[in-house]
Amino acid sequence: MDLSLSTRTESSPAGDRTVVVVGGEIDVYTAPKLREQLIDLVSGGQYHLVIDMEGVEFLDSTGLGVLVGGLKRVRAHEGSLRLVCTQERILKIFRITGLTKVFPIHSSVDEAVAATD
């Protein structure tokens, strides 16, 4: 399955959050599309991002690199990038690479949108 991307805005007491819903496979071929999407959002002034990865079937290190790149971009604007993921096979990749210490990982979009720290 190819990569699918969609975005929407959700509001919470913490402020507006841009939710990026990602589905399919994030690999060396498709990761550039996600990179472009994140760059476009930050360029458009969206600095608080929630990446919903519940529909992701495959994630490799190229995809991790894109997510880290997104995190750096929003941090440069004092923004945030939160992940939503409950799939063990995806979480395992974040654990192996030590990125669970870098990304806030939430179990639902609502939780991620409401989070403030």
Binding site: Y29, T62, L64, G65, G69, R75, I96, T97, G98, L99
Partner: protein, 161 residues
């Protein structure tokens, strides 16, 4: 014996092809479900590394993926013709390296050697060795097959690619 051998142009879109074919062959050879995700990710990383090496150093060379079954084990190897692999750092350092390694406007690259470190964290049995005549690198990963299965029998209907 070799179940399937793939020779792929060094293009990112073919990494998915390699994952799908190798996974189908591995399942056919008897790989247990609990190892499927591991194989898919590990093979994807090994192929992504090989494709990256070729794009930088040998764009016209093909990446070779071989799935073979042996008594009690399945092996999957990925061979490239890039520079030999260097010593890899610890797996736990990958996240820090990614964060430290690029500016704000530059996505971090995962170096070929870090990918090998990631593979080491993913797969219990992984061997990295120089290719034939010292050219390139072959990454071989092995997973156990159920003892009751006889190598070769289940793969007989799969034509080599």
């Amino acid at each position: 014996m070799a179940v399937v051998e793939l020779r792929l142009p060094a293009l990112p879109e073919h990494v998915r092809t390699a994952r799908l074919v190798a996974l189908a062959a591995a399942r056919r050879a008897g790989l247990e479900d609990r190892y499927v995700d591991e194989l898919r990710l590990a093979l994807g990383e090994a192929c992504a590394r090989a494709v990256g090496q070729h794009l930088r150093h040998a764009p016209k060379a093909q990446v070779v993926v071989a799935v073979s079954d042996h008594p009690g084990a399945l092996s999957v190897s990925v061979s490239d013709q890039g520079p030999p692999a260097g010593p890899s750092g610890g797996v736990g350092s990958i996240g820090d390296d990614l964060l430290d390694g690029a500016s704000e406007n530059d996505d971090p690259d995962v170096s070929p050697d870090l990918l090998l470190a990631l593979l080491g964290g993913l797969v219990d049995d992984v061997c990295v060795e120089p290719g034939p005549e010292g050219i390139g690198t072959t990454v071989t990963m092995r997973w156990p097959l159920p003892a009751a299965l006889t190598p070769g029998v289940r793969s007989s209907s799969i034509a080599p690619v």
